[in-house]
């Protein structure tokens, strides 16, 4: 591309910006976007990995595999929900900062965007169908029914993952948008094509499901081992499997990461050999090394660190991914998200962070404490006075939030 062509693309991207601007400094949206993407992709990978275990367990006659498959189905079911709900946040933030790119990419593949919604619903329902067919089996080692539905679920989840991958990849090619819109002299208003993809990048993010699921198995053993009815042979088997998956999976993912870096578009320049180009791959391989060193034997503390470590590694990868996007769009196409018009709104900015920290913090601390303790208790769990108090405080915080919402609202309305 010559300078004049680049300049036209730059001008087009700036023209597409929303004239309403953004209500706080753009870097904050990028930061939150990266953080929430890391959380989202962790649960996506957890969902894929535990679904794969469920499926393998369903087709394996080994009773340990069968039990593990049934247990991981519970994780997978919840992980889909959490992945969806957390995925809303990066979806929101990318629209704020990269709206020219996200909206164009979406419109040019509109049918796939709509299909994404229905395929995801079908995938989730297929998983629930499998659960309802087998969830009530007291004996988790019997051959599960309707195994096809779990295959359908996993396959459809990969399809929605690919759609999202393609939409994200299309963002990186503003120079091709007009070519995709007009093909052979005819405008394509149908949005029926996915125009860009990078198999290495897609395979890398999917493959991370292996080490993440490994981290889940290590955590699972640690969490269940304190129960009075714990089967330690089975749990140790699961943890050993998990350790193997972390090590082997991290090596596979690192290899795919290298493949991704070797197949970047020319517009990425020398990103592959830059600091952030290396950082993502090194972080992934570091997970294998960490597991070799810190997960030896019982590893009572570090077993609980397996998933947080996966999150940290995912966060480094997410930063690399964001730096790649910035490198292409800013360094090559001169589109800098940092100069988005700011129409500062302190109230809504402050309200979000306070809600996030105080409401989210207090309620989720209470919820997760209850869930954690219940999972480790045989029979009915009755919280201690301190935990019970956490619940009362959380309720009051929620009530106060609602009161401020209406008090401020009526005050503004009456002014």
């Amino acid at each position: 591309m010559d300078a004049s062509q680049v300049s036209q693309v730059t001008e087009m991207m700036y023209a597409l910006r929303n004239p309403a601007g953004v209500p706080t400094y753009p870097i904050i949206f990028i930061g939150l976007g990266v953080l929430t993407f890391a959380l989202h992709i962790l649960f996506v990978q957890l969902m894929l990995g535990t679904s794969a275990i469920t499926l393998y367990g369903a087709f394996n006659s080994n009773p340990y595999w069968r039990r593990l498959g049934a247990a991981m189905l519970e994780i997978s079911k919840v992980s889909v929900s959490v992945a969806i709900v957390i995925g809303v946040a990066p979806l929101l933030f990318v629209q704020v900062i990269y709206d020219p790119h996200w909206y164009t990419s979406n419109v040019l593949s509109a049918k796939w965007v709509i299909a994404f919604i229905f395929i995801l619903i079908l995938a989730y329902w297929a998983m629930y169908f499998y659960y309802f067919q087998n969830g009530k089996n007291a004996d988790k080692t019997v051959t599960p029914k309707s195994r096809w539905s779990m295959i359908v679920s996993l396959a459809l989840m990969l399809v929605v993952g690919f759609i999202m991958h393609s939409l994200t990849t299309q963002i990186l090619h503003p120079e091709l948008w007009k070519e995709w819109y007009m093909q052979d002299g005819v405008l394509d208003y149908s949005g029926s094509q996915l125009h860009a993809y990078n198999p290495w990048r897609f395979a890398f993010f999917i493959s991370m499901a292996i080490p993440v699921a490994g981290g889940m198995l290590v955590t699972y053993r640690r969490f269940k081992s304190v129960r009075e009815d714990a089967d330690h042979d089975y749990l140790n088997w699961a943890a050993d499997l998990g350790k193997k998956w972390i090590k082997v999976g991290s090596v596979i993912s690192a290899a795919l990461y290298v493949g991704w870096m070797m197949n970047l578009p020319e517009t990425a320049g020398d990103f592959a050999t830059s600091f952030w180009g290396y950082a993502g791959g090194i972080a992934v391989i570091f997970y294998a090394l960490w597991a070799m060193i810190r997960l030896k034997g019982e590893a009572r503390f570090c077993s609980y660190m397996a998933l947080p470590m996966a999150l940290v590694i995912g966060l480094i990868v997410a930063i690399s991914r964001e730096m790649l996007r910035y490198g292409i769009l800013n360094d090559f196409f001169h589109y800098d998200f940092m100069d988005y018009k700011v129409v500062m709104d302190w109230y809504s900015t402050g309200l979000f962070f306070l809600t996030f920290a105080i409401v989210g913090g207090s309620v989720l601390a209470y919820f997760l404490t209850i869930a954690w303790k219940t999972g480790q208790t045989v029979g009915v769990y009755t919280p201690s006075a301190a935990v019970d108090k956490m619940g009362t405080v959380a309720i009051w915080i929620m009530v106060l939030w609602m009161i401020q919402f209406f008090v401020i609202g009526f005050w503004i309305w009456a002014k």
Partner: protein
């Protein structure tokens, strides 16, 4: 260059992109409203179960919760972002306007959404695993979180119709855009109808209760909840209509389909009758009856209501400043937003649109129909499909045999001036008027096949001309060195 923030167009010929949004939104409203109402119902039932030490109520909460988890939380949590996705491809500047004004409000809602999703799993799976007091506390938190998601989103929905306060146009500010009369009345109306939906959908679960006395008790509880909320909701609907702009009422009177009012009245009356019957005769409450009522509310109640709300906003799609065709049609000094109409009037829509291909930037004989179609896609297709079916098809608005001259007169006199109350002002250069008119006439006479064939001819002709020019250039480049020699 004078470019404005217009994206490519997605054209869905069968039903129209607007109806795709409406279909997803309608389903989401059923799922989300039912869920929020049920969350508050669960808080009440769980509290009662704790006070009276009753297992049957918690068992009901578990069954209804599991039903909701599968049918409304799965589908609802996906169709929620699904509305973003569908509006992104159907109306990118409409959703962009909302996102850029209310990103923090959506982010705040997201916090409650996370609490809600974690909460629903706990409500369902911890029945019998934690003591009743703890379950009650979880239910109360879950109920408030669900309600918070609703009150936040209603403020944004209200902004779509009209910014909370008129002063928002001059001063901007999230609070002025969010809070207003419409916001509060709509919140009340939606809260009422959400309990109606909760009571109807809950009937599906009550139908499965084996214990006759308990079934009677729950049928009565849901019946009273449904009757009271339906009556309040109907009253709030009338009140709501006083809070919308006059323009919206004008559109409602003139543009809504004939079936709208009878359909809403019938579904309200039918819903009341359903609750009375099931209260008096709980044995009539079977899953099929409750399921039928759910579908009835979805098809005959929510669908007309959501499509009416969509239509009433015309010609705007968001905040009374973004037209339904994505053009910004009004200055908003408070947000430093400028109308894009002067730019289009100056350079024409073809040159102002960033995605106009180079071949179509100037209208000429070799691209007349294609540029006409392009303009129709940009300006018209969001509300009028240039196909046989779809949303308000264009061909229905013109008589057979309409001439080019007549069409040009209409386009210039009515569309470029903004003289039709519920349609955007659509500035065009004379050449663009000619192209759009030529397309409309052809679409009217021969439909899509004729348009496709004409565009193919234009493209072929352009390609031939290009090939000839390239050949001539090649000959020139071969002969030039000889001449130099």
């Amino acid at each position: 260059m004078d470019l404005i923030s217009l994206y490519p167009t997605w054209y869905e010929p069968a039903v129209g992109s607007g109806w795709v949004v409406a279909l997803i939104a309608t389903f989401h409203v059923l799922a989300s409203h039912t869920s929020v109402g049920a969350a508050l119902l669960f808080a009440y039932l769980s509290h009662k179960a704790y006070r009276e030490d009753r297992d049957d109520l918690l068992d009901f909460v578990k069954k209804y919760g599991l039903f909701l988890l599968v049918f409304t939380y799965v589908a609802g949590s996906i169709t929620g972002p699904g509305i973003w996705y569908s509006t992104t491809v159907a109306s990118p500047n409409g959703i962009g306007a909302l996102i850029h004004s209310f990103v923090w409000k959506w982010a705040t809602e997201w916090v409650f959404f996370v609490i809600e999703v974690v909460g629903v799993y706990m409500i369902v799976y911890l029945v019998g695993r934690v003591d009743k007091k703890t379950h009650m506390k979880i239910s109360v938190i879950f109920g408030i979180a669900s309600l918070a998601t609703m009150v936040i989103i209603v403020g944004i929905l209200s902004f779509m119709m009209v910014p909370g306060k008129e002063i928002w146009f001059e001063e901007g500010g999230y609070l002025n855009g969010f809070y207003g009369t419409n916001t509060f009345i709509q919140t009340g109306m939606r809260m009422a109808f959400m309990f109606t939906m909760t009571a109807v959908v809950g009937g599906i679960v009550v139908a499965g209760i084996k214990d006759v006395a308990f079934k009677k008790e729950m049928a009565r509880k849901l019946g009273w909840l449904g009757i009271i909320s339906t009556l309040i909701g109907a009253a709030m609907l009338q009140w709501y209509l006083t809070s919308v702009p006059d323009q919206a009422l004008l559109v409602m009177e003139n543009r809504l389909p004939d079936y709208f009012v009878p359909s809403i009245v019938a579904v309200l009356a039918g819903t009341l009758a359903y609750f009375i019957i099931t209260m008096l005769q709980p044995k009539t409450l079977v899953a099929g009856f409750a399921g039928f009522m759910t579908i009835t509310i979805l098809v005959a109640g929510l669908w007309p209501e959501e499509t009416a709300r969509e239509s009433m906003r015309k010609p705007w799609v968001a905040g009374q400043y973004v037209y339904s065709n994505q053009v910004i049609g009004r200055d908003v000094p408070g947000m430093d937003i400028k109308s894009q109409l002067p730019t289009i009037e100056k350079v024409g829509i073809l040159k102002a649109h960033p995605f106009t291909p180079d071949e179509l930037k100037e209208v000429n004989d070799s691209n007349l129909i294609q540029t006409g179609e392009y303009i129709a896609m940009v300006y018209c297709s969001n509300c009028h499909s240039p196909s046989e079916t779809g949303i308000r098809p264009l061909h229905r608005y013109f008589p057979d045999g309409v001439t080019q001259a007549r069409m040009e007169k209409y386009v210039k006199g009515a569309l470029t001036t903004g003289n039709i109350a519920y349609m955007p002002k659509m500035p065009m250069l004379d050449s663009e008027v000619k192209a759009l008119s030529a397309f409309l006439v052809m679409n009217n006479e021969g439909g899509q096949p004729a348009v496709v064939a004409a565009i193919k001819q234009e493209v072929d002709a352009r390609n031939r001309a290009l090939a000839e020019k390239q050949a001539q250039d090649k000959v020139a480049s071969l002969t030039l060195p000889q001449e130099v020699k």
